[in-house]
């Protein structure tokens, strides 16, 4: 209950100010451009599913950027404004505070993602793709968004500065994003671990292609849970600092 109260407040805060709208509008603009120029703008004839795969490829990247932008303010801004006192002295546990922040950010991310539905809708109407492919692709997008949101919440607990929170979140996300590169320069078993850790290349591509992979869903859920627990520990640790 406390988590939903916190989430409701965060959603309202995103929508009261202009920052939330600017981020959503900016990301949608970039996504629209990428869709128009690269996914749709090929000179040669392409299958509809290839266009859809390209859409989800860009959608995945934009969602990661949006998650970082949405979460860099969450707890960092509360600390800067001094309103974190309201949360820490409430009956909400540290876990409920973190989960509430996560739900709020995910709700905004979901809203933004929902506004992109017209693009696969165009492919569906004018081409030949299955609804299952679209649904699985979006499931992957939300999984990727969930991981980046959890990392962003964690980053936001560390610093008062939103910029610093954004930077640390970006560093962690890029590390997970490029771990497949590091895998090429290491020996087994480290190379196997690093290759498996890649949140995009290893785990998103199947969703992009319309293949529902349970192991990737479990991976996304696990990484999300781990970083939310880290965030909870940071908040709890602050009571001892």
């Amino acid at each position: 209950m406390n988590s939903f109260t916190i989430a409701r407040r965060d959603i309202a805060a995103y929508l009261h100010g202009y920052a939330g709208f600017v981020i959503i509008a900016g990301i949608l603009f970039v996504e629209g451009m990428l869709f128009n120029f690269f996914a749709m703008g090929s000179d040669s004839a392409r299958y509809s599913h290839e266009v859809l795969e390209d859409f989800f490829y860009f959608q995945g990247g934009c969602t990661m950027v949006a998650a970082i932008l949405f979460t860099m303010r969450t707890i960092a801004e509360e600390r800067t404004e001094g309103t974190d006192v309201l949360l820490i002295t409430s009956t909400a546990s540290d876990g409920q505070i973190v989960f509430g922040k996560y739900i709020g950010a995910m709700a905004i991310l979901t809203l933004m993602t929902a506004l992109t539905l017209y693009m696969p809708g165009l492919i569906f109407v004018n081409g030949k793709v299955s609804l299952a492919h679209i649904a699985v692709g979006y499931l992957g997008v939300m999984g990727l968004g969930s991981v980046c949101t959890a990392i962003g919440i964690f980053g936001s607990t560390i610093f008062r500065s939103q910029l610093a929170s954004g930077v640390i979140t970006t560093v962690v996300v890029v590390t997970f994003l490029t771990s497949w590169l590091a895998a090429e320069f290491t020996e087994p078993p480290f190379s196997d671990v690093l290759a498996h850790a890649a949140i995009f290349n290893q785990h998103f591509i199947p969703f992009q292609e319309g293949r529902l992979t349970l192991s990737s869903l479990v991976y996304y859920a696990s990484i999300t849970a781990v970083f939310l627990v880290f965030a909870k520990l940071v908040i709890n640790g602050r009571r001892w600092e």
């Binding site: 109260t5 916190i6 407040r9 309202a12 309103t83 974190d84 409430s90 009956t91 009571r239």
Partner: protein, 308 residues
């Protein structure tokens, strides 16, 4: 009702608070005094649940706060020096939000909200966006959020800082109102304000409890009187110490032919004593409640620090 036992808090190796113990009863207003860095804010933050103690217990109605922090925060309201407010919300929506965070349901909130708005004199501002409120009204909203859940203990950190004289008087009334049916703890650097608002003062120095002083609320006690008289100091002292109704006599000031003295009487015989003073030929210029004791006590506690 609220028992603080041997509270200790370290920041690294530095002991910010050491062995602080006291009790607070419902209906009591307690002031915490101390120099900057004395440990009063740390003490208040531990009581508010913002920090955890290194050792010691805080027991509210028999339940230990450290063992049950999430539950016990339901019984504590906290206002930091800068009121924590969501500026984009209206007063009403903000207080409803905080009430929910404090575990209240819709029924409890609809009953409690009008009471809190009335107590903090915010009825006319209920639908105003907080960003548009003056500093004084923001403080009131801060107090309102601290009491929306009807806590047993309200903690106010520097509640009058930044307020103008009129707002200070109003805030004093609000705090007294709070203290009628709950325990209130407040910190302030202004000794006069503490002495005018609190029933008891706890002096913290270098992390330790240096002293406690009973102030008796609005009155320092019916036996004590502070008067400024146009007289020769020796003559007044000689006369006063020879009077049977005078238990103790202390001069606190002597300049421009005026003497200020604090007199402890043998009973509540202030009218009779003042009549005797006038009859003895001393010109009474001013009679007031003695607050010098608190200043004297506080200064003596920090004397070592000042000398250093």
């Amino acid at each position: 009702m609220i028992q603080v036992n041997d509270l200790t808090r370290y920041y690294g190796d530095f002991p910010a608070v050491q062995g602080v113990s006291f009790t607070v009863e419902r209906g009591e207003i307690i002031g915490i005094l101390g120099l900057n860095g004395a440990g009063k804010s740390t003490t208040l933050k531990i009581l508010a649940g913002l920090l955890l103690p290194s050792s010691g217990t805080v027991v509210i109605d028999g339940t230990d706060m450290v063992s049950n922090p999430d539950t016990m925060r339901r019984h504590i309201g906290f206002l930091p020096e800068d009121p924590p407010l969501y500026l984009d919300m209206t007063v009403r929506s903000f207080l409803l939000h905080i009430g929910k965070l404090k575990g209240m349901n819709a029924g409890e909130l609809s009953k409690r909200l009008p009471e809190v708005l009335a107590l903090t004199d915010l009825v006319d501002r209920e639908h105003q966006v907080i960003q548009t409120l003056s500093h004084g009204y923001r403080k009131r909203v801060g107090i309102a959020q601290a009491i929306i859940h009807d806590p047993k203990l309200v903690i106010l950190d520097e509640p009058i800082s930044g307020l103008d004289p009129a707002q200070i008087v109003e805030m004093r009334d609000v705090i007294r109102g709070l203290g009628k049916d709950r325990a209130v703890m407040l910190s302030s650097h202004i000794l006069k304000e503490i002495s005018m608002t609190c029933d008891r003062v706890i002096v913290i120095h270098k992390g330790r409890m240096a002293s406690t002083v009973e102030l008796g609320g609005d009155d320092a006690g019916p036996e004590r009187i502070m008067l400024t008289v146009r007289a020769d100091a020796d003559a007044l002292r000689s006369w006063a110490t020879s009077q049977p109704q005078v238990a103790q006599y202390n001069e606190t000031q002597n300049q421009d032919g005026l003497v200020t003295a604090v007199v402890d009487l043998t009973g509540d015989i202030r009218e009779d004593f003042l009549a005797e003073v006038a009859k003895a030929g001393f010109g009474i210029r001013l009679v007031e409640r003695p607050i010098a004791e608190l200043e004297t006590l506080f200064l003596s506690v920090i004397q070592e620090e000042v000398a250093a």
